[in-house]
């Protein structure tokens, strides 16, 4: 990838990131933070990539540790966000 292409992706993502959360209500600050937290667990993809290409024992050990940590971040993050949001459900349904 050229540096220009990467810069373009980066800058556009910044604006999308600003835009998507610009209207969030106070009520949802916590779940939104938690959801964003889960999304950066996508570093798991990077951890798997480096683990698959690790050559030395040191590299493998560190990469596997990264896979464990990233999985906890991602899976735990989505589950805990879902649990928070579960509390909001059915508000329209039952009165």
């Amino acid at each position: 990838m050229t540096t220009m292409a990467i810069l373009t992706i980066f800058i556009l993502s910044v604006f999308v990131g600003f835009e998507v959360v610009s209207k969030v209500s106070t009520t949802l600050h916590t779940p939104l933070m938690s959801g964003a937290n889960a999304i950066h667990g996508i570093i798991l993809v990077g951890a798997i990539l480096v683990a698959a290409e690790a050559k030395t024992t040191l590299e493998t050990t560190l990469a596997i540790l990264a896979v464990v940590l990233a999985t906890i971040n991602m899976v735990g993050g989505f589950v805990v966000t879902d649990r928070m949001l579960e509390m909001f459900k059915g508000k329209g349904g039952k009165k």
């Binding site: 990838m1 540096t3 992706i9 993502s13 910044v14 604006f15 999308v16 600003f18 959360v21 209207k23 209500s25 106070t26 009520t27 949802l28 600050h29 916590t30 779940p31 939104l32 933070m33 938690s34 959801g35 964003a36 937290n37 889960a38 999304i39 950066h40 667990g41 996508i42 570093i43 798991l44 993809v45 990077g46 951890a47 798997i48 990539l49 480096v50 290409e53 690790a54 050559k55 030395t56 590299e59 560190l62 596997i64 990264a66 896979v67 464990v68 990233a70 999985t71 971040n73 991602m74 899976v75 735990g76 989505f78 805990v80 879902d82 649990r83 928070m84 949001l85 909001f88 508000k91």
Partner: protein
């Protein structure tokens, strides 16, 4: 896998994350948004094994085992956690994410260094990821310890602390420069250790109500480290996802800071400007008026309008269902009931909304601070359930106290104020509340749930 197909699937995942964040900003779509994000993340995790960039994959079984282990640790932790402890769990998840990003950068650095000195651009991205990832990791761990009350929740400030912090930061940056200019493992190791230390020092002086802001800020930081790793690994998906979190996290942090009347700058650089504070004058015993559950029930029963102000104590006591029972009982007797929700009541913004929603409190009864404040003079009784800092007039009257400048619920304007408290211990921010000694205040000591249950039965007997 065909590289175009792989790129296309990666793009789909990136879009799912945008939809997830968008969904999470509106109550109706929030849960669906989260599920879309989780689905996208799952797809990304599966397809990465078929990434055409991997020439000969090693360790596949080991990786799958590590993922399984992560799931076994992460899911039960997220499932079993009490609602009250959710903030620190989010902090911890954020920390391990930052740690993972730093590790990924280190491994890639070792890998690239084996083939000669990596390019300067890669070195800069690596240095950035390791510094910010390590800071986020150790900072989040300290936040966790503070919220879990395994250490003091007050700001920890020691004499000359800001010079130590500034010196550490200079050390981090210098070792970063050293890594970029010379490569090699020693500079990176020194830098990583200094960055871990900096994370600890950065969060220690943060106290009380500022902790949630710091969690949110570290969350945004971790997002940016993921983006930087994406640059080194040439992964568009990581760049997009990381940047999204970094950008939305920054906005969110600013919104939280605004909701609390804090300047983001002040929170950010609090570590550099914090001075040891004179501790509140203790020892002086002032009289308070404490009442029985019957007194409280009578006050409530003959009120026209009651506002309930929930705080962290409600969460600790798991009293949300009992408080709702009380509210329903009062409403049956013709009392107008509303809940006054401070944006940062509890330990995270929106904490109370989540909790009361669990007890199916009607959404219309939850009134935000700006709307409820003008109505306090027309309110007969305010029932403060386990809240303290968010109603503490010191935020208005005592310049220099840790919560000075934070908007509060002006409950002092109401006819009567009832505090349900466990003890006279000050709140999370560690500041005395003068309102407790006011003539219109009645205190009912005890666990919030026990007290509320007693009040409910006293009310039924009336």
């Amino acid at each position: 896998m065909n590289s175009n197909l792989y790129a296309l699937l990666g793009l789909g995942v990136a879009v799912s994350f945008i939809m997830a964040l968008k969904g999470l900003s509106a109550p109706k779509t929030a849960r669906r948004g989260n599920l879309i994000g989780a689905f996208g993340a799952t797809v990304a995790t599966v397809i990465v094994f078929f990434d055409p960039a991997i020439e000969e994959g090693h360790n596949t079984l080991l990786i799958i085992g590590a993922i399984a282990f992560g799931v076994i640790v992460g899911v039960p932790a997220a499932r079993k956690i009490q609602m009250t402890q959710m903030p620190q769990l989010v902090a911890l998840f954020n920390g391990v994410g930052g740690g993972a990003a730093a590790l990924v950068a280190i491994v890639e650095y070792l890998n690239l260094s084996a083939e000669g000195k990596p390019s300067t651009a890669n070195l800069i991205a690596t240095v950035f990821t390791v510094i910010v990832g390590s800071t986020s990791f150790s900072g989040s761990v300290i936040t966790f310890l503070k919220l879990q009350e395994l250490m003091t929740t007050r700001p920890v400030v020691f004499p000359g602390g800001r010079f130590v912090i500034a010196a550490t930061l200079v050390g981090v940056l210098a070792s970063g420069g050293w890594t970029i200019s010379s490569g090699g493992n020693t500079p990176l190791l020194v830098m990583g250790i200094l960055a871990l230390l900096f994370g600890v020092l950065f969060v220690l002086p943060v106290g009380g109500a500022d902790v949630p802001i710091v969690i949110s800020l570290l969350n945004a930081f971790t997002g940016l480290t993921v983006a930087a790793s994406g640059y080194v690994l040439q992964s568009t998906l990581l760049i997009v996802a990381g940047t999204l979190v970094g950008a939305s996290g920054t906005i969110l942090t600013r919104k939280m800071a605004e909701a609390m009347g804090r300047s983001l700058f002040g929170t950010l650089f609090g570590a550099f400007t914090a001075k040891p504070q004179a501790q509140a004058v203790g020892g002086e015993v002032r009289p308070v008026k404490s009442g029985s559950p019957d007194d409280v029930a009578i006050l409530l029963n003959y009120a026209q309008r009651v506002v309930i102000v929930p705080g962290f104590g409600l969460a600790v006591a798991q009293a949300q269902h009992t408080v709702r029972e009380l509210a329903d009982l009062l409403a049956e007797r013709g009392v107008e009931v509303a809940y006054g929700i401070h944006p940062v009541a509890g330990r995270m913004p929106g904490h109370m909304n989540v909790l009361l929603a669990e007890a199916s409190v009607p959404y219309e009864q939850l009134v935000e601070m700006e709307e409820i404040n003008p109505t306090f003079p027309q309110t007969d009784v305010v029932l403060v359930v386990g809240a303290n800092d968010v109603v503490n007039p010191a935020a208005k009257t005592t310049p220099g106290c840790p919560i000075y400048g934070m908007p509060i619920l002006d409950v002092a304007g109401a006819g009567n104020v009832i505090f349900l408290k466990r003890s006279m211990r000050p709140g999370f921010a560690g500041i005395e509340n003068d309102l407790l000694y006011d003539a219109k205040t009645t205190l009912l000591f005890g666990d919030a749930k026990d007290s509320l249950t007693k009040v409910v039965s006293a009310l039924k007997a009336l």
